[in-house]
Symmetry: C2
Subunit: 149 residues, 2 copies
DNA sequence: ACACGATAGACAACCTGGTTCACTATTTAG
DNA sequence: CTAAATAGTGAACCAGGTTGTCTATCGTGT
């Protein structure tokens, strides 16, 4: 059935993300939501603002603001007014945020290795190549309200 | 980056689904939501009930009921009490629902052909094979609140 | 024969992650 | 120095889920 392929993509995504967050919870980050790691990455080392973040992710500034607030409450980011422009509030990833980010990276690399072992490194590389060929460039702009769970 | 793979899966899913619904809208089904086609398929030719549907999809009976109601309002399904058990209401796909389903199938098949043309039929088959190896059997139970947009 | 437990559906309140509209405060440009 | 643009925030709303509670009907055990 040709309708199976998109479902398999979704299933693959969810399987990986669910695994990631189960392991992250075990490693001391039970409050991480699927989108959080993604947003932390999007913030970057320089910090950013809600408006900027919204543009990067392809969502409204209000949605970005809400997410930042949630992230702030669980201690993954902090906000400080920009002295050079007191309208702006610079969002920065905290140490705890970085810890989550680093652990996510490790878990994802392990996951990737498991895929390589199961499928063969060559097949996995070919798969990644094919996917890059068929999907848009910009990995950030998922342009999806509620991309995952 | 090993974190790219899950994102590519999501992107691939969304790309296909967005394309499908853009084309479906052009063909006279502008109200179809991503989940609708999926649910229509899950209902099947025999019809089903909210409880049954919920079990199939892995969501609560209330969620299934809400979806059925939405589908009913836009004319894709209809409900009738089961004469053999007046508690039950059998949900059936209407002609309009079937029209959407048939068109979806055609669009998905075209999409699939395009992927085959771009990647090569052999590569696409290998990709599908790899995905089946790495994802759960049951395509219905996505077990995801809000799997797509 | 009938009471009791299980089942189907519906309603309400709530959650998450989005949306738009409206507003204030500040900055920048003409 | 005023006018437009921009950053942030709040409110109301939506979709698609959740749980809890309730009624109506069905089916079974004594």
């Amino acid at each position: 059935m040709s309708s199976e392929l998109p479902l398999r993509f979704l299933l693959a995504f969810r399987t990986m993300i669910d695994e990631l967050h189960a392991e992250l919870a075990r490693q001391g980050h039970p409050d991480m939501r699927p989108m959080h790691g993604f947003v932390l990455q999007a913030i970057g080392p320089q910090g950013t603002t809600a408006v900027e973040l919204g543009r990067t992710l392809g969502v409204s500034k209000q949605a970005a603001g809400k997410t930042v607030e949630a992230l702030e409450q669980i201690g993954y980011v902090e906000r400080a007014v920009d002295p050079a422009d007191t309208r702006r509030k610079i969002v920065k990833v905290t140490d705890r945020g970085y810890d989550a980010l680093i652990r996510s990276g490790e878990i994802l690399r392990r996951q990737h290795r498991r895929w390589a072992e199961t499928l063969g490194a060559d097949r996995l590389a070919a798969l990644e190549n094919d996917l890059r060929k068929m999907t848009p460039e910009n990995v950030w702009k998922l342009d999806a309200p509620g991309w995952f769970s």
